[in-house]
Symmetry: D2
Subunit: 340 residues, 4 copies
């Protein structure tokens, strides 16, 4: 941590500050310059609060040098984390494709969609039972009933099931789910993250709408610091000024997250763009950028879908898309997982 002092900092202010800092088991190293002086903090600064330092009158700015995340940091865990999700190894040398409808709407709808997804080569099934909707007047999901239908679809197809949790009050209902998803709007629901850190399931953590990559990694750190290291990071588009797409897919996040962290990275081209016609090119871009998995919305009848109809592929469009995804993933050396 580097602390830049103001020009007019007095000796007493600086020595008081150094005293205060060294209570945190770090060493403070003063470098005197012409225009301003600098204090370099040496030691483990993860627990030091930047804001408290800034409250000292003699401080101009503070910069963290060490990354504030540890468990999620590739520097301390050079090898990829590879998660075994019912046999689908995620984060290693295989690409996973999680497909399924935005919302679980009925047993028929889900199972029909799930079978089509499986046939096209999907390796896991997604489907929302609890739905975070901007409007209280929109369909809110089948909730507990939706989870039961997902588990039936798992039984029918053998596909592991990924579904979103919206409140820790519902955690018990997720005991047979294979991957618990945390949505973008809950990425900094810290009480939920801590609770998920105490369970033993893989957590698919979506990046918040305007969260930085460091904040995403810090939210992963919340889960990991409670003991659960099975975290999958998900890039799903960020909010920008561009109105043509619902969000802006931050494709460089894929490569950066793989460089900064050892955790698997999944890309959701459906939410990132909100446009069916962009799902295929964005899936291919994500595979080329090095993602470990894709999460794609597929619905057997999008125009009657109860949510997000405009971004869900038909089974046929998904099948065509999968042909290209499989070929490219193979070419990139990380083939789509083969499920017998």
């Amino acid at each position: 941590m580097v602390i830049v002092l103001k020009n007019n900092a007095t000796k007493q202010q600086v020595s008081e500050l150094i005293g205060r800092l060294e209570k945190n088991n770090v060493r403070a190293n003063l470098v005197e310059g012409v225009h301003s002086n600098i204090i370099g903090l040496i030691g483990d600064t993860v627990h030091i609060d930047i804001e408290a330092i800034l409250a000292n009158e003699c401080v101009e700015t503070v910069r963290r040098v060490q990354e504030p995340y540890k468990n999620a940091n590739r520097k301390f865990h050079p090898d990829n984390t590879v998660l075994d999700i019912c046999g689908r190894l995620t984060g290693g040398d295989r690409t996973q494709v999680i497909a399924g409808p935005c919302s679980v709407e009925s047993e028929k709808q889900l199972i029909e969609t799930a079978q089509a997804c499986k046939q096209a080569g999907a390796t896991m099934l997604r489907g929302g039972a609890f739905k975070p909707r901007t409007s209280p007047y929109s369909f809110q999901g089948l909730r507990e009933e939706g989870i039961k239908i997902l588990l039936k679809a798992k039984k029918e197809t053998g596909l592991p099931v990924v579904t979103e949790i919206m409140s820790l009050a519902h955690l018990d209902m997720f005991s047979d789910v294979d991957v618990i998803q945390v949505g973008a709007r809950n990425m900094q629901n810290f009480e939920l993250l801590k609770a998920l850190g105490r369970c033993d399931k893989p957590i698919l953590l979506k990046r918040g709408l305007s969260s930085t990559l460091e904040e995403l990694l810090m939210s992963a750190e919340y889960i990991m610091s409670e003991g659960n290291s099975k975290v999958i990071l998900c890039e799903r588009g960020i909010r920008t000024f561009e109105p043509m797409t619902r969000n802006t897919l931050d494709i460089s996040a894929v490569a950066l997250l793989k460089q900064k962290s050892h955790l698997p990275v999944v890309v959701d081209p459906s939410h990132a763009t909100g446009l069916v016609k962009l799902v295929e090119p964005m899936s291919l871009a994500a595979v080329a950028a090095g993602c470990d998995a894709l999460e794609i919305e597929v619905h057997c009848d999008p125009k009657n879908a109860l949510s997000d109809g405009s971004q869900q592929l038909t089974p046929q469009a998904f099948a065509e898309c999968m042909v290209k995804i499989k070929a490219l993933a193979q070419f990139m050396g990380k083939p789509v997982d083969s499920v017998e």
Copy 2:
């Protein structure tokens, strides 16, 4: 709602679409043009899902004409909502000033700060018991103990108490709190909003970091649609590309929210800027723009604060700031509430 059809839409597609739409108790009015045709939907479209319409191949774009919020909409409730918070009338012809530390750290710290705030003219007390922190390694708040200290401070000073809830699991602890705050990171924690909609307390709802004003109003709508109409809207800065301030205070939000909605509007200049030296000018700007209340962070010893030291005023700086706020609020015709 206006639906623009593609040039190549077939008669059959269009008539199927119209059939599908009219199942929602609205009338669909087709207007034929040279380059493209338009369907105008007439009736109550609040329950209609734009995404499902977009999933129809023949649809180019869809635009909502009616605002999707009703309970929060000034069109349907022309008069200001005025909330009585232990005698502080909020949303009418008085300005409220909510002051206090970012976090409750100890009984001594809170009561000392609360007394100084009251003396300077604050009309309510804020203080965080549950703290949403980016890092799991930062101070997480005194939690239940913090709420007890807040209630002691209320007893000592007579100031009503505003504090943040982070999980609906904690709701019982808030039974004696006067105003429950929902933080920016939980603005779209819809399960929490629904639970708060079923209690009878005023809810101070902070705008999300990158939430649009319509989304903020829709989150208010979540609370109101469950029966609780005591919602206070809070502008606390949005995330932009500008690095000099922590967030960018969207001052036009104040005037827009007052125009679009009948709910009281509060501005938090401390979180909006993250800089002590901007709190005074931004407070004055907010009052000039027509806000009903300010929420300002004050700490009796900012440089030893356990959170957000750099944005908390000292009691003395707050007292100086209040002199100007009071004078301007008086000038604007909405004086700071006088508490005997």
Copy 3:
């Protein structure tokens, strides 16, 4: 300047880097830590290129400590710059109000509007002769003819004239204009800025749509480094994700620019919001935040305006707005300039 070195930096890399740095007449001070080492650069680092330092393999990050602007920096020029624009002292203890139409459309339109603006208390006249329009099919301005009309309006009303330049090829036409405006889209048209730095007129420099405050100050620095120190900084809204307003008025920019720089600061509430109904509250907020001037669009017949009709006030609405602006400016201790 602070350079953070990578953990695995070799002694040779570091000593080579120090050698390279010290060629720039600065002293490089190495601080060795546990996790990483830091080099503090002491001396005048304005000419040092951060990017070149980052290209060294052994460098993790680089942070500038000194601000990169000098002429515009209040640290080196503590007193306010006060510009005398035909007797209107801008930047001191008076508030200026620049009013007039978006575009000069005809002699009649401009003179009628100018007289109404003067009568309401405006102290300068604005009007676009060269118009930067997103579409080549929109009205592009009367160009040279427009400037002639502006000068006639000046003769009629005595109001000094502010108008925008779009290309240095037109500079000769601006010889009788009182203030030359650089639009947001040209804030980083560096060749234009340099040319304006060699003339002797006040330059009203608008912040780019997504320019940081530091970039705005660096563009001022371009003008000033060529010899022209008469620069007025203008906040006119930035681009964000919020769709209800055309741009987002960054009100904290007003206070920050006044703190960081000695140059006058003007706010343009018309472009910042794009909405007539926000011009008054945003003007008041800007005055409360400490601006030196306002620039407000007024048109004698907005619904037949050739550009930006939706954000231009009618003369009557402007007159009503001016009553409040004058009262507030007086209250803030910086009355609107009185023009006999």
Copy 4:
């Protein structure tokens, strides 16, 4: 164009508005609803000013249905535009790779870099002679001398030359350049665009830092409406809140621009990210997303570069990157152009 009227619009206001609209050679079609009425405009609305319509008191909102660009619109020109740049066919079934240093610094530097680029498979040479730098104290480019050096490098290597123009005053110097680049900061320098529209050279038009895709297409339209249809669109990253990368590469822009327009699309991964280690994955993502060309910065000695050192590849790193780009472009069916 769809105009939504306010609830309280009077018959007279509406009929006046319709009269005003129909002066523009369009037909106005009134649809009466329960909550509000709508006017649909039928005909060519490209010349109609939305702002002027919004200035009518009776208007709530206006939505354009037709895209405001014509020459750049794929709807009217379904086939790809393929530009022949000294034999490199750009926009068709070949991928071009434009490589070279950020700035031309010396003959030796440029020619050495150019030869290395050619050897690795680059098909065109880039290099900045005029450099838009945020600071007036940074290296501003060799200017006219730089262009001469570029032309020498062309003679040596046979590579066509791409270089940026910053002012129309310099246009004469570009007579032997093969592609004229317009930088992000000049994307809306409309006077420059018009001048380039009257010359006969391909124009590589970079997207502005916070320009929407529609604005980019409208800037292309400026050039094309003056007669020059040889425009290449360039995605080079947009400004967002994410600090880890200099800009955020908007990869969906590639696919969208190809869908909306017939013009060639190039991606600049160097400026989009500012990070050497992201150039390769982002190049691959761009190829997978369907771009027609890449523009990559390569410098024979990045750590002594006079600008943008941190994002320029060494010749060796570029050669390794080209191996993967070539293989992927081949796989995608659009091989990198072979230059004998």
